[in-house]
């Protein structure tokens, strides 16, 4: 909590923990780091969460570095510990992709692997005690620091929009624009009578359009909501007297291990399902 705001009130503490480090174009201050949520809100769209980007890209690099190292030393003989670990995850992802996605694609499996490991790592940041890194950052002059990228709706939306873009791309290239349009326009209502069918088309377009748009939104909000809620509970627990904190934070952290893995898995599975849907006409 910034000393400038004075006093360590509980509301202030929570607000401080939920505020990203925003760098953007403030109407009065120009390009600067926002101090407080009002300044951040005033920056509008042209602002970036430095902390989210830093942790997100950092964790992505850790993922890539670790897996690349294993991939470079990959041998068909007796695998080392790292290779074993990486193979375990790769096989897990590969099995899930094979079971759900029946098309032929070089993209879907690596996409699923990236999502699973990356989202898992981002969620994993939730298990670091809530005050450690923000406090260290504050001492070194950084006013805000949110270390769990998946509690930032921008991050989860960025991921789901990537998936959405791929869905649209594959729908258009594999089914063709006409096939894709037919899927949107002639479902779920159809009729052999051409006149009735024509009447159904706008209804279908509306329903299917909403269903299509809902996919990336729900994908993003599900992950964001779960992680945000979990983070908030950790922050609330941190408000207790320090002698009592462990009685709640330990069980919640243990439970959260399940949540973070599950959410990463769900994000991956839904991505595979969406990819599968856009690859096959039904």
């Amino acid at each position: 909590m910034a000393s400038a705001e004075g006093g360590l009130t509980q509301t202030g503490y929570i607000k401080h923990h939920l505020q990203n480090l925003v760098f953007g174009n403030h109407p009065e201050n120009g390009w600067s780091i926002a101090h407080g949520s009002e300044e951040a809100a005033a920056m509008g769209f042209w602002a970036i969460h430095l902390d989210s980007m830093f942790w997100s890209i950092g964790l992505g690099l850790i993922f890539f570095w670790l897996f690349k190292k294993a991939a470079d030393n990959a041998t068909a003989g007796v695998p080392g510990k790292l290779q074993n670990f990486v193979e375990l995850i790769v096989e897990f992802v590969d099995t899930n992709v094979r079971e759900t996605f029946h098309g032929k694609s070089d993209v879907v499996a690596p996409l699923a692997l990236t999502i699973f490991v990356w989202v898992f790592l981002m969620n994993l940041m939730d298990l670091i005690p809530v005050d450690w890194i923000p406090r260290a950052a504050e001492l070194s002059g950084i006013p805000y620091m949110k270390i769990v990228p998946s509690t930032d709706v921008n991050v989860t939306l960025g991921l789901s929009l990537g998936v959405f873009a791929l869905m649209i791309y594959y729908s258009l290239t594999i089914k063709g624009p006409v096939g894709f349009f037919k899927e949107l326009a002639f479902q779920p209502f159809n009729s052999p009578n051409p006149i009735v069918q024509t009447l159904f088309v706008p209804v279908n377009l509306l329903l299917e359009g909403v269903a299509l748009i809902a996919k990336p939104i729900s994908l993003a909000l599900r992950l964001f909501g779960n992680m945000y809620a979990g983070e908030l509970i950790f922050i609330l627990i941190a408000l207790l007297p320090w002698t009592l904190q462990w009685t709640l934070s330990v069980p919640w952290a243990l439970f959260h291990i399940l949540v973070i893995t599950l959410q990463a898995f769900i994000f991956m599975m839904l991505t595979i399902v969406y990819m599968s849907m856009s690859h096959e006409a039904h």
């Binding site: 890539f64 294993a70 003989g77 990236t114 939306l157």
Partner: protein, 156 residues
């Protein structure tokens, strides 16, 4: 909780990481996995083949063993038969030899008896002549009483 540039930043880094994963991580790991799978499948097949070969060899050995046993039994049977024959043969020979010896002994004995009888006959006639001469007190002419003497000798 504003939607801002972070979303685009995340989208771009997402695309880059997926690309990197697709290019540098997935193919080598999968290749290693496939290769190991093939290797394991190959070794399993080899092991199976080895087991099959061993079984075949075992069968062959068993057949050979049985053959050898049969041959040995045959040889033993032949030997037994041959020894029986030899024993039988030598028994026969021995019996014949014994019979022959006995026959010749019998013949010898009969010869002795005949010659002894002959000698007795001769002595009987001379003893009879001498006895008669003593009794009569005269010389008895053996030739004159040859018929009586021959009868006497013939009674012996």
């Amino acid at each position: 909780m504003n939607i801002n540039l972070t979303m685009l930043g995340q989208l771009i880094s997402f695309a880059i990481f997926v690309f990197l994963c697709m290019k540098y991580v997935w193919p080598p790991v999968m290749a290693a996995l496939r290769e190991r799978q093939d290797k394991i499948a190959q070794s399993l097949a080899d092991a199976e083949q080895g087991a099959q070969r061993r079984e075949e060899a075992e069968q062959e050995v068993n057949a050979m063993l049985q053959d050898a046993k049969a041959q040995a039994a045959e040889i033993v049977a032949q030997a037994q038969k041959r020894s029986n024959e030899i024993v039988e043969e030598s028994k026969n020979t021995a019996r014949k030899e014994g019979e022959r010896l006995m026959a010749s002994a019998q013949a010898d004995i009969e010869q002795e008896v005949v010659s002894a009888r002959e000698a007795l006959r001769k002595q009987v006639s001379s003893i009879a002549v001498q006895g008669a001469g003593k009794i009569l007190g005269t010389e008895v002419n053996a030739d004159a009483h040859a018929k009586v003497l021959d009868d006497l000798v013939g009674q012996l």
